[in-house]
């Protein structure tokens, strides 16, 4: 197992941009994890005069209510990353299970599950997320759930396609001939073969989830008890012409984070793609 990890890293390393992005991403994650311990300012406290440009006391300035933007950025990283990762994991898990069942069993079950998936795909995902959060009142849980609910269908379709491609392969037939149960075959035999493209999509989904979360908080649909990057952009929006950095700073942060996640996802795709796995 460790040798295949080494092998994976060797392939991943070939993509320089992905390695650089992984480094930046690691910094962001570290900032989210340990930043609040080192930079103790409370992001909701009014600490100074509002709308200050960056200065020694407030490295990134203050917002319209005099809150420290750097503190907001660090605390917001926690929320954005947490929601992005948890929502993506939940969506991937659910989507893979639906896709696996549909692809492996086919027939009526496939029809039922895929028509259900299509239903979700016909509704613009951001609009659906807005509606869901509005119905269940904004909180970290409802925002995460809403993002997961609008994200799983694409995973389900991908997993289904992978399972259809795998299920008629000889090794699956051989597993049946050895007396394995369907559940064993799905989870232990086909899953490891079907997973690489799903992992790539899941990693890219984290980026989309962060964007969706930012969009929701920009519209005011975020947990009022926690600060997030999208919320900070929304706050700065009214004074965009006099204090552009107030929106630009969290905006650039989102941009960099999403870009890095996408680059890492690309790297994963290169490293996991069997067609590029020669050598």
């Amino acid at each position: 197992m460790s040798s295949s990890l080494v092998d994976f890293w060797r392939k991943f390393r070939r993509n320089r941009a992905a390695v650089a992005a992984l480094f930046v991403l690691a910094l962001i994650v570290l900032a989210a994890a340990f930043g609040p311990l080192l930079y103790t300012a409370d992001p909701f406290d009014m600490l100074g005069r509002p709308t200050q440009p960056p200065s020694q006391r407030f490295p990134l300035g203050t917002d319209v209510s005099g809150r420290d933007i750097l503190a907001g950025l660090i605390h917001g990283a926690r929320v954005s990353l947490l929601i992005g990762i948890v929502a993506s994991l939940a969506a991937t898990l659910f989507g893979v299970l639906v896709g696996a069942a549909a692809g492996y069993y086919g027939g009526a079950l496939d029809n039922l599950l895929m028509r259900g998936t299509d239903f979700f795909l016909t509704i613009p995902s951001f609009v659906l997320a807005v509606v869901l959060v509005a119905i269940f009142s904004p909180s970290i849980v409802s925002v995460t759930a809403a993002i997961a609910i609008v994200s799983w269908p694409s995973v389900a379709r991908l997993a289904r396609a992978e399972f259809i491609a795998q299920r008629d392969r000889d090794y699956v037939q051989a597993c049946r001939a050895l007396g394995m149960s369907n559940l064993d075959i799905i989870l232990r035999q086909i899953m490891p073969n079907a997973l690489p493209p799903v992992i790539v999509v899941a990693s890219l989904m984290v980026a989309t989830a962060i964007l969706t979360e930012s969009g929701l908080s920009f519209l005011g649909l975020s947990d009022p008890n926690v600060i997030s990057w999208g919320y900070m952009i929304g706050v700065g929006r009214t004074v965009l012409r006099v204090a552009w950095w107030m929106s630009a700073i969290p905006g650039v942060t989102i941009l960099v984070t999403v870009l890095c996640i996408n680059l890492v996802g690309e790297g994963l795709s290169d490293a996991l793609n069997p067609r590029l796995q020669q050598r």
Binding site: D170, G179, N193
Partner: protein
């Protein structure tokens, strides 16, 4: 004496866009303990479908077993509950496939895949299963089994992979081994090694072998009895020695000629003209009549039933050549 495996009137249907077709129709044969029976036929004759049907491995979406009985060690596999069937698969009946590369899961080591069967069927611990795996690999003559067991399938040669498949199939000492074209994907030099290995293990384990092949040379070396299939039906059956020396059915004669069984200096390679008819477009009478050089007008209107053509021999042909009594 009851046979190890008795197939009675097996019919397998596939649903296609052009309607329902019968890939296997009314197939019956028996296999005794410790015996090797070969099913021969061209591509599309239904021989592999019949083999898959024995373990109920016909893909559920498109195909189904439409009728018949498959009696194995006294129980009908077609009516067995799923969990009891799974206990037969792999434990009582082992199966090896044509392409050993495709039949091994690429993400697991050889050892994990062998151990899987032992853990599932015999409740072995992982450690014991691994040890048994090394023994099995040694038994199928994989060199350096302690090292090979940790390798992935793509690191092994075709012959080695087929040996691994055999080790997996035999892990639980089955009483029947179904070998579906076990050597077709292998190099000629490796073919003979794999076949003699199967033959040797058959004697050692006291198991019966059902050999599916189109290679008559393999049949001659391995099988005691032969079933010849054409277009989903059995057209001839008999002990291999006599069937080869005195084929009764014109199709069997054609196959033997095509296999250059009749040696001759500078003669052109013989072939059977035409191809197996598509199951959706079967001729009215004997399915072989359009390609048969011995066909008479009756063959085109009426389908011949199986009839005795000698001791333990039968053929489905109006002009079959009977053995002198």
């Amino acid at each position: 004496m009851s046979a190890l495996l008795a197939i009675e009137n097996l019919t397998v249907e596939f649903t296609t866009t052009r309607g329902t077709v019968r890939a296997v129709e009314g197939l019956s044969f028996r296999l005794e303990r410790g015996e090797t029976l070969a099913i021969v036929g061209e591509s599309g004759s239904g021989k592999s479908t019949a083999a898959l049907a024995i373990l109920r491995l016909i893909a559920a979406g498109s195909g189904r077993i439409a009728g018949g009985r498959i009696l194995f060690e006294g129980s009908d596999l077609l009516t067995l509950a799923d969990d009891r069937l799974r206990a037969v698969r792999g434990a009582r009946i082992g199966m090896i496939f044509q392409d050993p590369m495709m039949a091994l899961n690429p993400v697991y080591t050889v050892g994990d895949q062998i151990a899987e069967t032992l853990i599932a069927h015999q409740g072995m611990s992982r450690r014991a299963a691994r040890q048994r795996g090394v023994e099995l690999l040694r038994r199928v003559r994989v060199p350096a089994p302690e090292r090979r067991i940790a390798e992935y399938p793509h690191n092994l040669s075709g012959g080695m992979r087929q040996r691994v498949m055999i080790a997996m199939a035999l892990a639980c000492r089955p009483s029947l081994l179904i070998a579906d074209e076990p050597t077709t994907a292998l190099d000629v030099t490796v073919q003979a090694q794999v076949l003699s290995l199967i033959d040797e293990l058959k004697a050692e384990f006291g198991m019966a072998v059902l050999l599916i092949t189109h290679d008559l040379g393999v049949v001659w070396e391995m099988a005691q009895r032969v079933v010849v299939m054409y277009a989903g039906r059995k057209v001839e059956e008999g002990p291999s020695g006599r069937l080869f020396t005195r084929p009764a059915h014109p199709y069997t004669r054609g196959l033997l000629r095509a296999a250059k069984w009749e040696e001759g200096e500078g003669r052109r390679l013989s072939e059977i003209p035409g191809t197996v008819p598509s199951p959706s477009d079967m001729p009215a009478g004997c399915a072989f009549a359009p390609r048969c050089d011995a066909a008479v007008s009756r063959c085109r209107g009426e389908r011949p039933a199986l009839g005795r053509v000698g001791a333990q021999r039968e053929a489905a042909c109006f002009v079959a050549e009977s053995e002198p009594a």
